[in-house]
Symmetry: C2
Subunit: 698 residues, 2 copies
């Protein structure tokens, strides 16, 4: 799944305020979708289109579609709180206290206040105005969901928000914000932009929206769980010791390490929860010192068995002292008063509330990512093996799905939504399945050209043999997280579709087969995914890959091809996902997950390459073989051999004979002759020449 | 020339203090080299090796080689100055007030104080100690040139200098520095590292070294010159208007633009000088506002004719008001006091002295590079054409040189130094020659494995048919600056040498032929220069290319493949220079200059590629054709066609018949059959099969 797509998915992760937080979030998404009004055009599968689905605040009285949410009450109540705090404006971001990509319903404050359920945005409320900033993907949605209390602002830069604040807030007044929802960088950016304007920020640790959000979903009561021994290699005690070694080796001699990202604590203790849709995380912080461990969570969710597991009844170096989730700030303040302490934080995931109490400066040590995130990025042998295993089972899911589509689409009964349901159902039947790792992207024809698309009843298209189809889906398994995209055509693709598909595939292969020194950064190699497209003037507007976890986030930082990702080391897993999108026509993405592995070279040591662990064949009909180089062809044949061996065995194991035949048909080796067009033509000329000579002589 | 090499070259740009600044710096280098003691080993061309060329301060009395400089007097006098300023330490960097890469003799303060003439280093003097920080390339040199007043420190990070300062300077004391010699970043880094240590920096605008440097070379008295009309397209008035338009378009509405880098002022006014060796620059600053122009320079060097040219007798928007070079600070302070002004600076080239007077914050506007540098990066049509022309003449120089070596080396009379002299002499004979653009790197066998090598009498090797030879040289011409590297072998290269050379060549070609969207950054493409090497576990430890100027610096920022370079646009010129260095054995670098040009693609607009303007064939003997892909081969043949056409015509023009024969022999087209090894072998198998069938049937 690519990053733009990801951002959009958040759309389905925020819920109308009438829903409580106790239900399965995935079911909630579906339920909510079913309740949404229909809006249909073109080949969409549904009833008649309605008009005026967007608000019109310039009419008297204003026109509001039925999708708009009346926010007068919550605004009025928030302003009461603001007056009590003596602030003239209040900033409401879209994230949670752990700066998570996905958030839980109880953190959907932006949606509660504005009605707008898109994942990206910032709201600002003054005593007489309210405005939402969101990017172009969401403008239509915002116009449908917001009432006329809200202005929509389209320049999402912090300087634009600041400019608006300066125009609306009187000189000398204060602008409130919840420091738990701001990263260091966000706070810094606001500060710079408000600098010398005579308006200042006021950090208010009690969230004002929460005070007026009466039906705010509560924290899920579900017990937390520990991973079974069969999926772990390192006990939490070993991990703690390993991290402490890194603390001891650090020249700045930190005495404590503060963990804020939800997967940091979950990883350290080999635990999981169910608080965030699609992500097996639980609300938590950890403060790890050289001789104590404080784990901040909702203690009532920790069973007696888990307490034993965590050695929670003592205070030694390997005892986990359980503390209430909400006590982190006081505890940290307290710790910082101790003489000689220095707290290490990763700046990318620590919120401003925790950062600002670590004073003076010499009690603070920062790096972009905590040593837990950089350690976790390199999977141990067990993690590598089980993540590979999960991908073998996941390949069977996608093969079942593609085979089903081949049969069903020509009959005319499949739609984007039924297809998404089918692939999710296939996944749920595999061993250790824990549901999808994100909302399946099932996109036909022009819908696939929106890189951030997910089907809704409004946009749902019937699948036909005349359109390309893109499916980007993934699963959570107890042993791993998967994420794969395939693009197919059941009829006759155009030459341009074939060329674009082949060049996307060439990009995927060029990254996958490249050999590079350990530590090379993805951002310096990702152009290999674009180069074959660039050659003919094509490109794509999203990133080229992201880390994936072991039953963790489907976007696992800091691995990947973005500029803030760290260098590749053996044992890291990343997606590789070039694409091409032709507006109002079709979309192509080919996404595989690969593990970084050592490779033997002729002269040097410490070189790496990728080994693809997603094991599903590409649509043969869409490959123009004359474009592939001999090296690309060779790579493809080796890849298909691996699919036959690994997936073949598992298909046998699961007794899926028809699927095995399908897989074998689709992984037939390609003839390895010729490379790029110019070469094969010159080689063919020579062969033709030889053959011609033969005939003449005969 | 690559960047590591560049840094080393500075070695020859700093002179013993006994030399005055009035002489031709290139001659001075040679003169200085002749005076240096001999130190010979292996195949070097000279007398017997001497022992103990490095100081030994642990003996009593200390052993000092004859190359060591007695610095007791200057240290004593500097400390007098320091006591008068009430500072406990003084920091002496290696750069000048324009943060230049190359410096003039009068700015060689580090060399004057320490005796050490390497280009990279920082010295710190306290009231009873003195230390020099320099990197590994210079440790031996520093041990030869410094006396026992100086400690040598090997960790060159600012944090290491700061740590030393904290250990040597009493709490509460101040550390002096010349803010003209510090960039914003350097000052910031010292500040961060001294933060909370209770030692603080003190900015002292009068340089204390200058106060004790009695024989400090003066500013060259040479008159400044303007470029002739035939090499310019835009008058200075047009350039000024164009920059003012950019100032007006800037949303932060700057009222003034401060130009600090020496090539900024020289470019704006189409003027040149002779103050820095190898660089046609002159000491200058410019403050450009919407309605005034102040040019700060040594006014006595401006002729009456130039004053007319600059319209220097008025004060209007297109009048250049000439001000003394040393008045910039006062003038800037004065300007900043005006109400409503905002001064735009490029942070990469503005020194801290100027930066610190632009207060408060809202009078300052920063970008990494000034609009002059980013505008200058894109050459206009005339600049492009004359820079191409200069490269045609320069190709003749290198062809003459390579032909001469082919004859001379087997006779046993050529050395690295005589070869360097020869190529410099050839250049001096070409039209519009203005001398070399840097000290020629002429390196045989193991010497070429040091990427920063330049020959000296000590290290000079005789050239033989048994060793590879690398020559990296360039010229200043009135119409352009050139920089080219070729690596050759006159005997029988090893398989490994051929493979490494071929893979370096493949890297050069892969960058040169790649197609990319306008604005793509070099850092995101430079791995193409390494990929063929990586494939077999080889690599190189320097950058892959840098901008070049029109009769300007041979390293022209901000163009190139480094992380702080800007995205490529049509009309930029960059070097492309992958390499490979085998320690104690040989070194390979293949460097060409290329211009970024628009390219027509099948589907998209606004795509670019490179057009190589260095026009000298590669050593055929070193190319393993079986490794090249068909695309690489095709590129090579097209390149050779271009050489034949452009250089052939100029060779005819200059009546160089023997050279033309040599060029034609060395640009014979390669047979375009087969691509990579695997393809050609499979094609050949098929052909063999067809031929075998033929024979059987016959």
């Amino acid at each position: 799944m690519n990053h733009f797509v990801f951002i959009y998915l958040g759309n389905f992760l925020m819920f109308p305020k009438t829903l409580s937080g106790h239900e399965n979030p995935v079911c909630l998404v579906l339920q909510w979708l079913l309740e949404k009004p229909l809006f249909v055009k073109g080949n969409t599968d549904g009833a008649v289109a309605r008009e005026s689905t967007e608000r019109n605040c310039s009419l008297t009285p204003p026109y509001l579609p039925s999708t708009a949410v009346n926010t007068s009450l919550q605004l009025e109540e928030l302003r009461v709180q603001m007056r009590a705090m003596n602030i003239s404006a209040y900033i409401i971001p879209a994230t949670d206290a752990h700066l998570s990509e996905y958030i839980a319903p109880r953190d959907a404050r932006l949606a509660f206040m504005t009605g707008f359920t898109g994942s990206a945005g910032t709201a600002v409320v003054t005593l007489n105005k309210a405005a939402l900033w969101t990017d172009s993907r969401y403008w239509v949605q915002a116009e449908r969901q917001m009432d006329c209390n809200w202005e929509l602002e389209k320049d999402v830069s912090i300087s634009s928000v600041a400019e608006w604040l300066i125009s609306e807030v009187p000189k000398g007044d204060e602008i409130g914000f919840d420091p738990f929802l701001f990263s260091l960088k966000t706070q810094g950016d606001y500060n710079i932009n408000l600098d010398s304007s005579d308006r200042s920020l006021k950090s208010i640790t009690e969230n004002l929206v929460d005070k007026v959000w009466k039906e705010r979903p509560s924290v899920p009561p579900d017990n937390l769980t520990r991973l079974p021994d069969r999926v772990i290699q390192r006990t939490w005690q070993e991990k703690v010791e390993h991290i402490r070694t890194q603390m001891g080796d650090n020249p700045y001699k930190p005495t404590g390490l503060l963990l804020s990202a939800l997967d940091e604590t979950a990883w350290l203790f080999n635990m999981r929860g169910n608080d965030i849709p699609y992500n097996p995380f639980f609300y938590s912080y950890t403060l790890l010192t050289m001789d104590e461990i404080w784990l901040f969570l909702h203690v009532e969710r920790v069973t007696e068995e888990l307490k034993v597991y965590l050695n929670a009844s003592c205070e030694g170096a390997l005892c986990v002292q359980l503390k209430g989730y909400d006590t982190i700030l006081d505890h940290l303040k307290n710790y910082v008063t101790r003489p000689g302490v220095k707290v290490w934080i990763g700046t990318e995931y620590t919120n401003y509330a925790l950062y600002e109490v670590i004073t003076p400066q010499d009690k603070l040590l920062t790096s972009s990512y905590s040593p837990v995130l950089t350690t976790k990025a390199v999977k141990d042998e067990t993690e590598q093996q089980i993540l590979r295993d999960a991908h073998v089972r996941d390949a069977i899911v996608v093969i079942q799905f593609l085979m089903w589509l081949e049969k069903t689409v020509p009959e005319g009964n499949a739609t984007e939504l039924t297809a998404a349901e089918y692939v999710d159902k296939c996944r749920s039947k595999q061993k250790d399945s824990r549901g999808p790792s994100f909302a399946t992207i099932s996109a036909s024809g022009p819908n696939a050209a929106l890189a951030h698309y997910s089907p809704t009843k409004e946009t749902n298209r019937r699948l036909t043999v005349d359109e390309m189809y893109l499916v980007d889906s993934g699963g959570q398994y107890l042993d791993g997280t998967t994420d794969i995209t395939r693009t197919v055509h059941w009829g006759k693709p155009t030459e341009m579709q074939k060329e674009a598909f082949t060049r996307v595939l060439m990009g995927n292969i060029e990254i996958s087969r490249t050999i590079f020194p350990s530590g090379t950064r993805g951002v310096n190699m990702e152009m290999l995914g674009r180069r074959a497209l660039w050659e003919v003037g094509l490109n794509y507007g999203h990133g080229t890959g992201h880390g994936v976890g072991n039953y963790f986030g489907v976007h696992e930082w800091p691995v990947g091809f973005q500029s803030n990702n760290i260098g590749f080391r053996a044992g890291m897993f990343t997606s590789i996902e070039p694409g091409y999108y032709k507006e109002n026509d079709f979309g192509i993405r080919i996404e595989d997950v690969a593990v970084v592995v050592p490779v033997q070279t002729k002269y040097g040591n410490n070189y790496l390459t990728f080994d693809t662990v997603s094991l599903v064949p590409y649509d043969r009909k869409l490959i123009d073989m004359s474009l592939l180089s001999s090296e690309q062809l060779h790579w493809l044949n080796k890849y298909y051999e691996t699919i036959r061996s690994l997936v073949g065995a598992e298909l046998d194991n699961q007794g899926l004979h028809e699927e095995k035949d399908w897989m074998l048909r689709n992984t037939e080796p390609f003839a390895e002759i010729g490379s790029s067009a110019s070469v094969s033509s010159s080689s063919l000329t020579l062969i033709a020449l030889a053959v011609a000579m033969l005939h003449n002589i005969v």
